[in-house]
Symmetry: C2
């Protein structure tokens, strides 16, 4: 895959867990530099609606035809509401990169899921995200991918991580999601 510096990216983050409904923010970026649009939707805390709701948000957006890659911040949003990245890819036809600042602790996740309904279904969706790749660098980060080769995904993550070890589209989505819900943005994506 040839990666243009201005590749159009949609990055998705969620807000803090202060309500049953959790705000999801999408940032539509040109490469790592320019924010060109903001999307917003809502999903349910610990619900099962993340995949459908995010798919719909993307497909009804005026930016849909331009988006070349979707970036997620892990595969669970709003607590343990899992995103099925294979289905997200199949339904949008846009490759998906799941970005993680640390390698997920699956034992912990499995335990937490035991306290929720549909434990097995959530577990299966989380596992479906597949192999975890480490991007070796000063502060290593981790990704999972669907519909895109590893080298291209590495390149996109590196190219857009220009102000920290977090890709700009995700860093900005985090600032917006926390700022809008809490009144002032906090921490890191």
């Amino acid at each position: 895959m040839h990666i243009k510096p201005q590749i159009r990216i949609l990055a998705i983050d969620d807000s803090a867990l202060i309500d049953e409904k959790v705000i999801i923010i999408g940032t539509f970026f040109r490469g790592g530099e320019q924010l060109d649009g903001v999307l917003r939707t809502e999903i349910t805390k610990d619900g099962m609606d993340a995949t459908d709701t995010i798919t719909l948000m993307i497909k009804k957006s005026k930016y849909y035809a331009q988006i070349r890659v979707i970036m997620l911040d892990g595969v669970t949003y709003a607590g343990f509401n899992p995103v099925d990245i294979k289905r997200l890819y199949d339904e949008t036809n846009i490759p998906v990169i799941v970005f993680m600042r640390s390698c997920p602790d699956f034992e912990k996740i499995r335990l937490a899921l035991e306290n929720l309904p549909e434990t097995e279904k959530r577990w299966e969706i989380i596992q479906r995200a597949g192999k975890i790749y480490k991007i070796a660098q000063e502060n290593p980060v981790f990704i999972q991918i669907c519909g895109i080769d590893k080298e291209s995904a590495f390149e996109i993550v590196r190219m857009t991580s220009i102000r920290s070890n977090i890709p700009e589209p995700l860093r900005v989505a985090h600032l917006i999601a926390t700022g809008v819900v809490l009144g002032e943005s906090t921490g890191k994506a």
Copy 2:
């Protein structure tokens, strides 16, 4: 005033008028390049609380001590809720630049105010923003200022208008404010 390329700017825009309460978004920027924080508050449609609410949002922010200039998108928010830029400057001790893409039509504004309570007070606050300066360029823009000299304000507007004729902090505040409220961002600041 010496303008550093990384000057910290807080830019403020409002969302669409779909409710009695209108969301106000503040973007905290380094120069025209990097978004470092997002603030959110609410004011009343056609109310009189814009000055106090925006002052409070700024003063209680963790970014307060770093902000070197406040950028407003005109002096009325949420319909005709006017910002008293002299009081905003006095209370925050931060210079204010009011940015406008076209020269305001004061006759029209005066007429619109006749339909609202406290007409004279609103009119007086709007007038208090003072002289309008034109920044002559391919697409001219207009500013009003408080606590900053004209040349420095021109330089800040020019330096930060890197992707359009709108300063980046205001362009991004607009994308966030409209995206968060409408589900997808629209138009220009």
